[in-house]
Amino acid sequence: MADRLVSVGIDVGTTTTQVVFSHIMVEDLSSGFTVPRIEIVDKRIVYRGQIHFTPLLDDDAIDLAGVARIVEREYAQAGVAKDQLDTGAVVITGQTARRRNASEVLHHLSDYAGDFVVAVAGPRQEAVIAGRGAGADVYSKVHGSTAGNYDIGGGTSNFALFDQGRLAAASCLDIGGRLVQVDPATRRITAVVDKTARLAQFVGLDLAVGQPADLARLERLAEAMADLLAMSLGLLPKSAFYPQILTEPGRDVVLPRPLKNLSFSGGVADHVYAPPDGGDPFRYGDIGVLLGQAVRRSPALAQVHRFAAAETIRATVVGAGSHTVELSGSTIEYDADQLPLKSLPILKLSVAETANGALTAEAIQNKLDWFQVDGQRPAVAIAFAGPRSPSFAQAQDLAAGLLAGARDLLAAGHPLVVITENDLAKILGQSIRSRLPGRSGLVCVDAVRVEEGDYVDIGTPTAQGRVLPVVVKTLLFA
């Protein structure tokens, strides 16, 4: 029997704001003679909103009321009420994420959008969301190979690499179509972002606000941008300027395996895939068209097999709506009254730290202090791989260690939230429960992989209460 999760994706990008609704189909794939195996079997986009310009108040603030009006209109157009939503994500991307009220807007929007809609941000998470929305993960899985996606938006270019369907790398460059703005009427340059001005200077171009938009000069700038994209993928030797273009200093693109296939998404991508149409290159008021054409022409980028992205301009919003939620394992243990849990930071334990109960307790106690803020203990989720097929005694030992380690956490009134990779949440959860003092809450899930520095949202049960929807996200706002 298939269950359906209704999901929303909202992307507030450098240039555009978009909304999509999708249905995520969930089904038990087990034979009925084994333990259940509930998985996402299909994702369907049921409503694609219009592409709106992101409303801005002045140079440095997002118009929250304006964005809220767009979202409200799209909800009405789609005929979806907020209480019908099971999951979803709001993502603020590119340059917009660096505006002074970005964090405020993001959290307002995620509350406004529905109870279970999570707020997501961070350049690398954007890359992953866009890469999944573009279908690079599926492409790599189907072709048993590696596939990367470059989402080239207005303010940033986010790269994600997938290897046989699994995420292998993600990073972000400050390259985008709207970093130079041109007034289509006067054909004069109206805005140049600082870093882009420095890039222009580095490649010997004189570029300033107020200048007439010189096509040859801006084409040369677009080519320099395309070259930087190629450098990030190891297709050109890195220039002296290259380290500066990284959105997160020192976070260079690392390719653990050779890149075999490459797709492009984002607003610029349509001009990568389609030949020039003869229209005014400045019709969008920026250099997006020129950047797309420069990427299209780039001999360096042409060295990698190019495939068509499943989504181009909508890749990020589709990724946010359809590909951020995953399901826990199907044999888990939880108190429903503790759910949903939002934005829990991850306390990650290594294999060595969880070798036995005593070590586990010690490691948790040591690490819990990291999360302390002004003497307060916030709720955290304790995560580790866990043994494959643990013995009963091992589960008892681990349960005792977890409880001993989390004593202060429970004393502060927080639930015990445990996340493992291997299939042991049911026995571990029941073992914890048999020792749990009083009325403390417990949420113990498996088949979820998280890392130190991640945050996790755990939704309300689905599929007759057998699984929990989980969203793993990277840092909100630093």
Partner: protein, 291 residues
């Protein structure tokens, strides 16, 4: 076509030739003192899982193939010599088959049954051979066992856990993790358990007779599965609400594939505990229990 006399003549000629070669052989044999004895061991073919053995020469995409292999115990990518298996595949196949044979034909150690504190009994089968050839007899408890179970097991229990050898004695390896996990899970749900009956030469149907005998509301039988070539250790848990020999097979709920390489026994036990609670609450089992 050859006529029969022709064939006979041909065979005789060939045999004569072979015999002549045989007689000539000793002269070519190696002298005894030239036999080399090494201290080394013949490598254990089963030491490497079939999931990790890969013999396709020059694969187009090794990683993708290995990725697929991790998802199945099927013998993929073992390669061949002409139309036949390679030596490695053949030996591995035979080793796995031997494991399956051992699981079926060996007996569960009486000392283990005692150490576990089971209340031991037996079906009307007198021997392994009878058990294997007469499935009907493996579903009926012998008189002595019926008497003992009626005497030593509580009547009208909410849940009775029962253990049987079934078609794999090796599957008992799961019980020390499976049983306490079910007990702990049930205890958490407020259900306690009495002594555990053990039945030798046990088929699944024996649980029906036991259930009717002691009027247990739910019976859960942990029994060895007929082994395949993947493992000899797989166990199943069959569950039924008010089991009765007159009820159909479809009345039973089952969780199969319980072993370290499938659903781990401790995790499976925790799951089975919640299933048993649902069966008790809904007073239905088998296909009637909508999962």
């Amino acid at each position: 076509m050859f006529s029969e006399p022709d064939v006979r003549q041909l065979v005789t000629a060939v045999l004569a030739e072979l015999l002549a070669e045989d007689k000539a052989a000793p002269s070519a044999a190696v002298a005894p003192d030239a036999v080399l004895v090494e201290d080394g061991q013949v490598p254990d073919v089963t030491a490497v899982s079939t999931k990790d053995e890969f013999h396709v020469p020059n694969p187009a995409n090794r990683e993708a193939y290995l990725d697929v292999k991790q998802k199945t115990v099927a013998r993929l990518g073992v390669w061949r010599a002409g139309p036949r298996y390679n030596t490695w595949s053949m030996l591995h196949f035979r080793a796995d088959h031997a494991t399956a044979q051992d699981a079926v034909f060996s007996d569960v150690d009486d000392a283990y049954v005692q150490a576990q504190g089971f209340v031991a009994g037996q079906t009307v089968c007198q021997s392994k051979d009878e058990f294997l050839t007469r499935p009907d007899l493996g579903r009926r408890l012998n008189d002595e066992t019926k008497e003992r179970f009626a005497r030593e097991l509580p009547r009208g229990a909410k849940v009775t856990l029962m253990v049987g050898d079934g078609l794999s004695s090796s599957a008992q390896v799961n019980v020390p993790d499976l049983l306490p996990a079910i007990k702990q899970g049930l205890a958490g749900l407020g259900i306690s358990l009495g002594p555990v009956p053990y039945v030798k030469y046990c088929r699944v149907g024996a649980m029906d007779e036991l259930g009717a005998l002691i009027d247990s509301e739910v019976v859960c039988l942990l029994i060895g599965e007929r082994p395949g070539l993947a493992t000899g250790e797989s166990m199943s848990a069959y569950m039924a609400y008010r089991p009765d020999p007159d009820k159909p097979e479809s009345w039973r709920t089952v969780v199969s594939n319980i072993y370290s390489g499938g659903t781990g026994p401790a995790e499976a036990g925790a799951h089975i505990a919640t299933l048993l609670k649902r069966i008790l609450d809904e007073k239905v089992s088998g296909v009637g229990l909508v999962l």
